[in-house]
């Protein structure tokens, strides 16, 4: 393993210290591990808070700023934050209008955010939770913990963030967030495993000529392993899996996200996007908005995820609203 490290133990605080130095319009509380806007909560606006394991950058710290999150709480690498941290983020984000928590559906995240929501509620803060569970690779059933929350997290945070700026109530911001999640489906493929700084070795063994189809954002295996094939065939399977689960309704427009997992060049992601656009075009599905890049990563894992969100005009307008964060910026 070759990584830029001082030591595995200080990886997170060193990274956050650098993040703070690079973004003076954000405030980074290194002790509590909470990232907020330097100017504090916006009076009268519903606060938006998210968090989860580190290692998925720019998610979530990179989405704090105008038009998106008010605070983020990064946990240890691939480990959810602790309740105290979430509560600190909620306090920072609350201006009296309440706080919406955006939580990815992973057992640890759900438990820690639930505990935090209870604690914050005890302090008198009104809290709503939006659970993100967009990954179709592992099927929901009575025997699993449900779908994983992955790429759609970005869409929920962007669109709910814009709704909060617009002045929507706590319930309305949460409602649009849930609507985005319900309309979103994702699927990921890994070409290589990522390496956590603590373990220093790849998270899973994947032979050089094989890919993991349906991988999770911590390297949790998906549906199957198969031989590496031309991108055209791999992407066709990914899009097929998504559309089989939720095909856009007639006339529905789609937001398409091709997301890198940290170790794949942008040129390859655009190549993948080209295949997605062609496949959807052939099916008569119209992509109204698109985004290509590293947004919800898994350290240095090579691979990509595809997220499709069937978007109504209101969601599209909120998507287009100005945003200014380290990881996402337009219209300002």
């Amino acid at each position: 393993m070759k990584k830029f490290l001082n030591s595995a133990d200080t990886y997170l605080t060193d990274a956050l210290a650098g993040f703070a130095a690079a973004h003076p319009d954000l405030a980074v509380d290194l002790e509590n591990r909470v990232v907020t806007r330097a100017r504090g909560a916006v009076p009268g606006k519903v606060g938006l808070v998210s968090g989860g394991g580190s290692g998925h950058e720019p998610l979530h710290t990179g989405f704090v700023g105008e038009g998106m999150l008010d605070a983020a709480c990064p946990g240890e690498v691939f480990t959810s934050p602790v309740p105290d941290q979430v509560v600190a983020a909620v306090r920072a984000a609350d201006s009296g209008a309440g706080v919406v928590l955006v939580v990815k559906n992973y057992t640890g995240d759900v438990m820690n955010f639930d505990l935090a929501a209870e604690l914050a509620g005890d302090e008198g803060v009104r809290v709503e939770t939006v659970l993100v569970d967009d990954d179709v690779a592992v099927q929901d059933s009575t025997f699993t913990a449900g779908r994983r929350g992955t790429g759609a997290t970005l869409l929920v945070e962007k669109i709910a963030g814009a709704a909060a700026v617009r002045g929507d109530s706590l319930e309305a911001v949460a409602e649009v967030g849930r609507r985005v999640n319900a309309a979103s489906r994702s699927f990921a493929v890994a070409l290589t495993a990522g390496t956590t700084p603590a373990s220093g070795r790849p998270g899973f063994d994947l032979p050089a000529d094989e890919i993991e189809v349906g991988v999770g954002i911590h390297g949790e295996p998906g549906r199957r392993r198969e031989r590496l094939r031309p991108a055209r065939e791999i992407v066709a399977d990914m899009v097929e899996a998504i559309l089989q689960d939720r095909a856009p309704a007639a006339g529905e427009e789609v937001i398409a996200l091709v997301n890198g997992l940290g170790g794949t060049p942008l040129s390859e992601l655009y190549l993948v996007y080209g295949e997605v656009a062609r496949l959807l075009g052939e099916r008569g599905v119209r992509i109204s908005r698109s985004l290509v890049g590293d947004y919800v990563t898994s350290l240095d894992m090579a691979g990509c995820s595809i997220t499709l969100c069937g978007a109504d005009p209101e969601m599209l307008a909120l998507w287009d609203a100005p945003v200014s964060t380290p990881g996402l910026r337009w219209g300002m």
Binding site: G108, V138, E220
Partner: protein, 209 residues
Amino acid sequence: MDIELARAWVRAVAVAVEKNREHLSDLDAAIGDGDHGANLNRGFAAAAEAVEALQPETVGAVLVKAGTTLVSKVGGASGPLYGSALRAAGKRLTGASADPAEVAAALAAGLEEVRRLGGAQPGDKTMVDAYTPAVEAFTAAAERGAALAEAAQAAATAAEDGARATEPLQARKGRASYLGERSKGHEDPGAASTALVFRALADTAAAAG
């Protein structure tokens, strides 16, 4: 069990987790993301330190403090699960000492909390598969009139058997459940760490003997 023994137990778990840190992470790497050992080590090291500084009046206060520390240091699923189990157990032990029957009831309260939070049943390939037989064995021994050391020894053996028995199972809860069929063939890391916790209790009780 008295306050000193409770404190020694937390300390012994911290030592055992540190010693088995790599092993737990290896088990986790097979079915999760490989940080179970590192996370628990961080948590129990802090818990041992926290109870060392404590001047408690009850046995339960030691366990509640250890549990609270785990919740606020570990994160992930193991922080809330282990932390809430210890807190629930500790809340049952309101005296300066506890007899084996009281300890059995406290351990059972911890198990109840784990099952409530995680929604896991025996056979789901989780810590419940080690915790459940351990509580049953401890309770049976206590009902026979066994001393703490003997009951804890029975619980430790049952937890270790339970952990080993998770190897062929398919995970149905937690992150490992996303593996489906492929989770078979690996011992569950949560069950393995639960076995360490009960072995530490047995060793501590034997030493206090």
